[in-house]
């Protein structure tokens, strides 16, 4: 299974004075089971890109293939595509509307035309999947904390049983523990449900910690695409694109500049700790 984008362009307000090219010749391949981070400054085209993946926005030119089928073909069922590629928008809790959390999560599957029983079964497993304790399931969404509401909203998308889950800044506005909880939950959904996950994030530290591959967007094009270690080697390019590298990666650079030979390939706290300890133990042996 895969998603392929072939030279996708997207132009807003084409033919008018406000014409803006939001995507410019974007080509990429997303394989089954990948965990991808998408980073880029505000207005770099991240959100436009992810809305193409489930057919919410249609490319001005270029092609998109889901499992080998052209999604722009006339007889392609794009409604079904939207249930296969689940999209969790920013601040998804603003979209909760049913009187109880459970009813809200049932809404998606019911809308797919599933029976009430099947919808409820899916809601059960989705709410388990996001780790929301059962005591909250029959409460009004408005009685939940920020992090809990966010989970309930993600469960609403999970209940559609998507094969690919795209999350647009799922941790914005959450406190540090809430951030860790949501990210750990997403990582465990990736591991245990074997889902393909795309995570749009503004935190370099978070993407370095969790994802296998980073796509960097800049001015509607892909600037860099690779493993975190590869991508974070390009510090100057990232800074020019309004981004940064993780703080520990900056620290390693600083240490090397001052003559402590630590590995340059450090992007997470754990790696930084090991790199420093290793440099010190070598130095002491010498």
């Amino acid at each position: 299974m895969s998603i392929i984008l072939d030279k996708v362009d997207y132009v807003y307000n084409g033919g008018t004075a406000y014409e803006k090219r939001a995507l410019n010749q974007v080509s990429l391949k997303i394989q089954d089971g990948e965990f991808i981070g998408i980073i880029g400054h505000t207005g770099s085209g991240k959100s436009t890109l992810i809305q193409h993946l489930n057919g919410l926005l249609l490319a001005s030119s270029g092609g998109i293939y889901y499992n080998g089928r052209d999604i722009y073909e006339e007889d392609y069922d794009r409604k079904e595509l939207r249930s296969k590629v689940g999209l969790v928008f920013q601040y998804p809790e603003h979209q909760l509307f049913e009187p109880t959390v459970f009813a809200d999560v049932c809404f998606g599957p019911k809308n797919l035309g599933l029976s009430r029983k099947e919808s409820e079964l899916r809601a059960f497993s989705a709410l388990r999947g996001v780790g929301l304790p059962e005591e909250y399931w029959y409460r009004s969404p408005f009685e939940l904390s920020g992090g809990q509401k966010r989970r309930a909203a993600i469960a609403g998308v999970l209940a559609m049983k998507p094969e690919v889950l795209i999350l647009d800044e799922p941790t914005a506005g959450l406190d540090p523990l809430g951030r860790d909880e949501i990210l750990n939950q997403i990582a465990s959904m990736h591991r245990e449900l074997n889902m393909t996950i795309l995570l749009v994030s503004h935190s370099m530290e978070d993407v370095a910690e969790y994802v296998n591959r980073i796509i960097v967007m800049n001015q509607g094009s892909i600037l860099l695409d690779g493993a975190p270690k590869e991508v974070f080697r390009y510090r100057q390019e990232l800074e020019a694109a309004g981004l940064s590298v993780p703080q520990v990666t900056e620290l390693m650079q600083e240490l090397r500049d001052r003559g402590i030979p630590v590995s340059p390939e450090v992007t997470t706290l754990k790696e930084a700790k090991e790199a420093v300890l290793q440099a010190f133990s070598k130095h002491r042996q010498a």
């Binding site: 406190d175 523990l177 620290l251 240490l255």
Partner: protein, 283 residues
């Protein structure tokens, strides 16, 4: 007298059912004591629902205390006569830039505040220019706000508050929706106002890194202030912060873990320069 002084401040939200009967009472602020001197840069940390934003809304009388007292600039917030004075002197910037920009041109948006309080026209223009300059947005004065980046919009919002010439500015998670560059821009703007113009800054945030530049940090939990001190004092207590659903900056955490492994690094390292310095001395 301190610029902001709270004594046993309590704020209760009353929850009602559909018939209007009281279902429960939630004390969002539960006996808060707070003292902020004029010209200080204060960061307030706390998990979602800990009472930070409720406290912020008291500082410019969007909310009033259920019990206790709060003085801002020496004026009692419960006294209706002072409400407008206090609002003029304690400006607020909120999380979402798109919810607080109203005009079609940047300079008109910044002029809205002073115009509203009856400042003469010529003075409005000079204030607009000064405040846009202070946040580094002067060259965008004739632009349309919806073409700006998130960080730029937040700086316009700050300029709008500055044009009221407040003594204090309260920023309620101003960077939550911004990319790294936008976050840097907004923090630098707030820092510069504090350093160069002596404006008292109250910064509410979920990013521990942003609290490092503050003079003083307060930590809230369940409507109470549970920790207070300099950033160094606060962030050297890693385990205690974690018990309040908070964290420490990544660099501080790394220093903490390296110390556990036996490296003799001092407590409360805050920046990468400090950690690099400490490691170089040991090497």
């Amino acid at each position: 007298m301190n610029f902001i002084e709270a004594r046993k401040l309590v704020h209760e939200y009353i929850r009602r059912d559909e018939e209007g009967n009281v279902e429960g009472i939630l004390a969002a602020l539960d006996g808060v004591d707070l003292e902020v001197k004029a010209g200080e840069f204060v960061a307030i940390l706390g998990h979602n629902g800990s009472g930070k934003s409720t406290l912020a809304k008291h500082l410019n009388v969007l909310l009033k205390a259920s019990e206790g007292t709060l003085w801002v600039d020496g004026k009692d917030t419960l006294d209706n006569r002072y409400q407008w004075d206090i609002r003029k002197n304690a400006g607020m910037v909120f999380q979402n830039p798109d919810n607080q920009i109203i005009a079609g041109v940047v300079e008109e948006d910044v002029a809205f505040g002073p115009e509203n309080i009856g400042v003469p026209t010529e003075e409005i223009w000079s204030r607009v220019e000064k405040s846009l300059k202070s946040v580094g947005m002067l060259k965008y004065r004739e632009h349309s706000p919806n073409k700006l980046s998130g960080g730029q919009k937040q700086r316009v919002a700050i300029a709008g508050v500055m044009a009221m010439e407040p003594k204090c500015i309260v920023l309620d998670e101003p960077t939550a929706m911004l990319d790294p560059k936008g976050r840097r821009e907004v923090l630098e703007a707030a820092g510069a106002l504090n350093r160069e113009k002596g404006i008292t800054v109250i910064l509410i945030t979920h990013y521990m890194e942003e609290a490092v530049q503050a003079d003083k940090v307060y930590v809230m939990d369940h409507g109470k202030i549970v920790m207070q001190g300099t950033p160094r004092e606060i962030f050297s207590q890693v385990d205690r912060l974690k018990s309040y659903r908070l964290d420490v900056p990544q660099i501080t955490l790394l220093a903490h873990e390296l110390r556990r492994e036996g490296l003799q690094i001092p407590e409360g390292i805050l920046t990468k320069q400090e950690l690099a310095e400490a490691l170089c001395q040991l090497y």
